[in-house]
């Protein structure tokens, strides 16, 4: 019973953090069609923001605004200098952002060196839930992520900006014709997308290793999720995260971690092959 409850909590936790990490890519790739290979680097910048806040010996709470600020600034500069010239050229965005990713990694390496950095746990200890002692910080994280998604879903479906974004995604020409400033709207979407990646990095920093190369892992899993879930909808993102996280958790528990990882790869390949648009496709 205890083992099963732990398994369930782990499953919810993994799905939640996967969804949070992939959210930014879902916006940038799903809505704007930019294959952002630097997505993981924004997660990394967020994690380093948490480290900087810790070194400055101020409350971990400040990591969140700092991470959002840093990734928004980087996102703005990248969109303004490179991305805006490349909309509708998906493959070119892939190459350009891959180059930018290397640049960001190396830049961080110059400033912080290759060493592993340690970001201390903010809320150490465990909480008893369903008869299981579960890490308190993980539970907090799950609640924060649920809040983020609820707010975002409401904003996307109810707000005027959300409406304009949807109009732009469905028919950019028509949207421009009725007076929607597509250039500005794309920029806002891009900056918000990469900022959520930075936020994810700051929130995950106390749980993971922090070094310049962590972005690659997050980039890969984010792409797997979008391949399975499909582009352009929050439902797809959540289903993708659940399938990827769930498969990994179930197979790893029954067999071992290698089998779990392999099953994730096989599922992604099967989707690319048989259902390249994913489960939810709405564009």
């Amino acid at each position: 019973m205890e083992a099963f409850a732990t398994f369930l909590l782990n499953f919810v936790y993994v799905s939640a953090i996967l969804a949070l990490v992939a959210l930014g890519l879902a916006m940038v790739f799903g809505l704007l069609g930019v294959m952002n290979m630097a997505h993981g680097e924004f997660v990394m910048l967020g994690a380093y923001s948490a480290y900087v806040v810790q070194t400055a010996q101020i409350s971990f709470f400040w990591a969140i605004p700092l991470a959002i600020f840093v990734s928004a600034i980087f996102g703005f500069l990248i969109e303004w200098s490179v991305i805006r010239h490349l909309y509708n050229r998906a493959f070119d965005t892939l190459l350009a952002t891959w180059g930018l990713a290397i640049l960001i990694r190396k830049g961080v390496e110059v400033v912080f060196t290759r060493d592993y950095k340690s970001v201390n746990q903010v809320v150490p200890g465990t909480v008893e839930l369903f008869g299981v002692n579960y890490p308190a910080y993980r539970l907090i994280l799950i609640s924060i992520i649920i809040c983020i998604f609820v707010v975002l879903l409401l904003w996307y479906q109810r707000s005027k900006v959300g409406l304009r974004v949807r109009a732009m995604v469905q028919n950019p020409g028509l949207a421009a014709a009725i007076g929607i400033d597509i250039a500005i709207l794309s920029r806002v979407t891009f900056v918000i997308g990469v900022s959520t990646a930075g936020l994810a990095g700051a929130l995950l920093a106390p749980l993971v290793r922090v070094e310049p190369y962590i972005g690659l892992d997050y980039l890969l899993s984010s792409f797997f999720i979008l391949v399975v879930g499909g582009l352009g909808s929050i439902e797809g993102l959540l289903i993708g995260s659940t399938i990827i996280g769930g498969t990994d958790a179930v197979i790893s528990t029954i067999f071992d971690k290698t089998a779990g990882y392999m099953s994730v790869l096989i599922i992604s390949i099967l989707f690319l092959w048989l259902r390249p648009d994913g489960i939810f496709y709405r564009r």
Partner: protein
């Protein structure tokens, strides 16, 4: 219509012209590069002959990129420090030493190419290496015992190639006495083995399992993880379920950091011990002070070993490179021992010839930061330290004197 076909024809002939041009260019290019290659080869040959009388170039193969790249800066510093000390004492065989760095953080085939260039092109007459076992295998194939090669870091044991000298810890030296000590002192009976999926963890665990069986202990779990894994929830659940008392960790780098953090966050660190031979100072810093309770590590060197020799070494390092220089650990420090061992063996042999050096290596002795080392079957018998993590630092809890490396050379 006619006009169109004329255009098409023009287009075709233009294209042909273009491809002829590019073909000519390619031929030209090939010719040029052949000339360049020949010149380089000639110069290279000249350079190596010229250096035979002057400086002694030593190829130092350390990770300057890739996942182990974080050990690069300290390894480079330590190698420079050893070279400077050797030179101050008159060099190797009366020749001043010059170290030439090669990146060993790439794939084995690329590192082999780099080493070949340093050897045949730059004229390096000896090599030391601090890199993984796959790269070592590739380099042994390149050198084929024609040039002396000292392998510095700890490794899984089992090698006996000619012309290769091992100064790193083997599992027989570090893992076996540590498990015996932990079993006796901490009364552990249930062991769980977790590592990354390649030969070092598997070979190390094979030896660990022998020791555990001898002690009457029980292996309650054994798992090997792909390198990309950073979620260990299912393994942690199994550790809880099986009631493991000591977890032997052969995860490397980032995987080790993520695992140890998750381990502590589930409250396992309170009652369950952890032991690994590749949990170095840097990995421990990544794991973090609040997650380090009950971590043990064993190696021939730790940054705060308190012997006179080790203290002198650490002070020398700090005064040469500053107090904020790259942190020392057993891996980077092993480059120092590699160069000292090379010097000692070459002086005993009287030449940088692998046949003479293989003979001279047997019974070779020296004193370094790690204490007294004696070479047997081209492996080093040395003192091993078992350390316990206190916060983000290691504190030595036990030293095992003069541990035998094991004999891997079949007569």
């Amino acid at each position: 219509m006619l006009k169109n076909s004329a255009n098409v024809f023009k287009e075709i002939s233009k294209n042909r012209e273009k491809s002829m041009n590019s073909f000519m260019k390619r031929r030209d290019f090939i010719k040029k590069s052949l000339t360049a290659a020949a010149t380089t080869a000639a110069l290279g040959g000249f350079a190596s002959r010229a250096s035979a009388s002057g400086h002694l170039k030593i190829g130092v193969m350390i990770p300057l990129s890739g996942p182990a790249g974080l050990f690069g800066p300290a390894s480079k510093n330590v190698s420079e420090m050893a070279a400077a000390e050797i030179n101050a004492a008159g060099g190797i065989l009366g020749r001043q030493v010059e170290i030439v760095l090669g990146d060993a953080g790439l794939s084995p085939s690329e590192v082999a190419q780099t080493a070949l260039k340093l050897w045949r092109g730059e004229g390096c007459e000896a090599f030391i290496g601090m890199h993984d076992s796959a790269v070592r295998g590739a380099l042994i194939n390149v050198f084929k015992a024609q040039v002396p090669y000292v392998y510095c870091p700890n490794y899984e044991g089992g090698e006996c190639a000619d012309g290769v000298y091992y100064v790193g810890e083997t599992p027989a030296q570090s893992v076996v006495p540590s498990i015996e000590w932990l079993a006796a002192e901490k009364k552990v009976k249930k062991f769980y083995l977790i590592g990354n999926d390649y030969n070092w963890p598997r070979d190390t665990n094979a030896i660990a399992k022998e020791t555990i069986a001898k002690l009457g202990g029980e292996v309650v779990g054994e798992e090997y993880m792909p390198f990309t894994v950073d979620n260990f929830d299912s393994s942690l659940a199994k550790m809880k379920e099986t009631g493991a008392e000591l977890v032997i960790i052969t995860l490397v780098g980032g995987a080790s950091v993520s695992f140890n953090r998750a381990f502590a966050s589930f409250g396992l660190s309170e009652n369950v011990l952890r032991f690994g031979t590749l949990i170095d100072e840097n990995t421990l810093m990544g794991i973090g002070a609040e997650n380090s309770k009950n971590i043990y590590s064993a190696a021939g060197y730790f940054a705060n070993v308190q012997t006179d020799a080790a203290k002198a070494f650490a002070q020398g390092y700090a005064s040469k490179f500053g107090s904020d220089a790259a942190v020392l650990n057993a891996l980077s420090q092993s480059c120092y021992d590699g160069l000292i061992a090379l010097d000692t063996i070459a002086e005993r042999a009287g030449a940088l010839d692998t046949k003479a050096m293989d003979k001279a290596a047997e019974g070779m002795e020296y004193d370094g930061p790690r204490g007294h080392g004696t070479m047997k079957n081209r492996h080093l018998a040395m003192d091993i330290y078992l350390a316990n993590a206190v916060g983000a630092e290691f504190k030595i809890v036990q030293s095992f004197k003069n541990q035998e490396p094991g004999n891997f050379c079949k007569a």
